[in-house]
Symmetry: C2
């Protein structure tokens, strides 16, 4: 039962290797009767074709890699990544691909992982999370001309496929929501400015203020790192500037920030309103349910896989650039209901 080969099955079914291969790969042009006889033998023996041999002969591994670069240190702190991974894993399974996970923690990791990832014959394609703007990893992957889809817009977009949400307008919507509720001293807890997502959400914040003719007050902007602790300390830096609302570029930071505001004796949302970004389950479970931008994280992962499969099957050109929609989810933390009642 252990080391059966195509040849063995062929002998047992009284046909040739080629015919068994045809049956296995669902090629047409095999007589129904023969097809059934072969399947019967396969089932009875519990035969599974050898993946390596298949890959070698067909130049197709049915494996895709998910690469999370060094800068994504928050893999295990921010629920965003598990959710994304979940969506990706599910889609891989759906499409009969196997998912390999490459967590790049250090520079040495990167050197070790790189050959494994870019080498032909082990991976059909790569999904890589966009990271810091200076990071060479993505450029190196692009150069290796392996089918590649970047999760989150990279800094250089010419000729590369990526998938993202429209962070600028999503952030603008979030901040506008606060403006519409009458808040005027709106703080921003941004993501890192050396990431496109950090910059984009900052730009959205600026646009919203500009549309209301409000000048940006630098004391109302604090850069953080997408973590809860980062949100907490950023909020402490913002407090002296007396914001009456804060847009945080992730739910986790919003939760940290709310905690900091509470610890400073402020009431949410009466004294200070909050809007987050992501709409992960924690958003509803926060001490004050969070108004936030919902992005379809799991579907995002699914779409990334499907885009990558498209690239694998139909070539790198033209670059696929997919932008997914977001929506504002209003809950208690922005004080929308208070105002409605008042």
């Amino acid at each position: 039962m252990l080391n059966l080969t195509l040849e063995d099955i062929a002998r047992m079914a009284g046909v040739s290797r080629s015919t068994v291969s045809r049956v296995l790969n669902e090629h047409p042009n095999v007589r129904q009767e023969v097809r059934e006889r072969v399947w019967e033998v396969i089932r009875r023996t519990g035969y599974h074709p050898n993946a390596a041999a298949r890959t070698l002969a067909s130049q197709r591994s049915w494996v895709i890699g998910l690469v999370l670069p060094r800068s994504v240190s928050s893999f295990f702190t921010d629920p965003y990544f598990p959710h994304l991974t979940q969506g990706i894993a599910q889609a891989c399974n759906q499409h009969n691909y196997t998912l390999s996970l490459f967590l790049v923690a250090t520079k040495e990791d990167e050197e070790k992982i790189f050959p494994r990832v870019s080498r032909k014959g082990s991976l059909d394609g790569i999904l890589v999370q966009s990271g810091e703007i200076g990071d060479q990893l993505i450029d190196r992957l692009v150069e290796s001309s392996v089918p590649l889809v970047i999760i989150g817009r990279p800094f250089h977009t010419e000729g590369v496929s990526y998938i993202d949400v429209d962070n600028v307008s999503a952030a603008e919507t979030a901040v506008r929501h606060l403006l519409e509720l009458g808040r005027r001293r709106i703080g921003l807890i941004s993501g890192p400015f050396n990431t496109t997502v950090g910059r984009d959400r900052y730009d959205g914040y600026l646009h919203a203020l500009a549309s209301y003719g409000i000048d940006v007050d630098r004391a109302l902007v604090a850069e953080a790192d997408f973590t809860e602790v980062g949100g907490y300390t950023a909020m402490q830096r913002l407090l002296p500037a007396k914001p009456d609302a804060v847009f945080a570029a992730s739910d986790l930071m919003a939760i940290g920030a709310m905690r900091a505001a509470r610890d400073a004796g402020l009431r949410v949302p009466e004294d200070i309103a909050f809007v987050g970004f992501d709409d992960l389950p924690i958003a509803t479970m926060a001490s004050c349910p969070l108004t936030t931008i919902r992005q379809p994280v799991a579907e995002f992962g699914v779409k990334a896989v499907e885009t990558l499969i498209d690239v694998i099957e139909n070539g790198l050109e033209p670059p696929r650039q997919v932008i997914m929609g977001t929506e504002l989810v209003v809950r208690a933390s922005s004080g929308a209901e208070q105002r409605g009642i008042a």
Copy 2:
């Protein structure tokens, strides 16, 4: 640069295919001068050996699979799994293995994944998270006689390799800590009773009570599912029985439970003390820093990988059964300091 083979490198270096193979695999018995010449060509051309061909010829894929069964629905809610995965990924990288991730969400997933996982030639070994006691997945994997290490003690332990912490004594330590602080109506928010980890921590709770001659009050025991929401609702069920302390079988549940206690107007730890389990970063960030059992989650992952590699290299027998230590970490939630001061 793209489709170089061993043969090409051999020709360019003026040696045979075999010699290049020897150089690549660091076999001895290659003249220093030749070795360097070959490396030089490899470096210059950017050649990487084809993984599939290597696997086919050597019957070794250098890939291990991490299988998370259906019952582990909390992959994306409980930070435990990302931490574990992180440890595993890091160790894989260290040992030059590639990690493939198999998230089993549905029965169909399981059917799709199973052949990919048990088939020879794609995976050198498997790490599988222990799940519900009735789950057939592990039994099927054991039968397929692929090198296997189970994360968390499975229900049937004969002949299988696994790695776990001593949940019984860890839980006992946690509950004893509360008893030593003078608490007597100690509630338990347990994990699911259809998991070994759920049962073990329950047993530890019983042992601790027994050692103080306290009879267990069924109204003080609530089964939950390791989620924060589960902890919250379990706490609500416990409240009528007026516990003065609660041991929750995970930090996440402890946090949910504390929130429920607060929402019911109780003060932590004055009115009710809490002890959790895991000591993940969220434990320190809780509204009241959590006394908890620290288990070495990331090292756990590392150890699992190392144990699996041992099994891969030295055979399935004898079964490796590794138990790792835990320690009690005292913070504010158990009220130890109050008592110290009083």
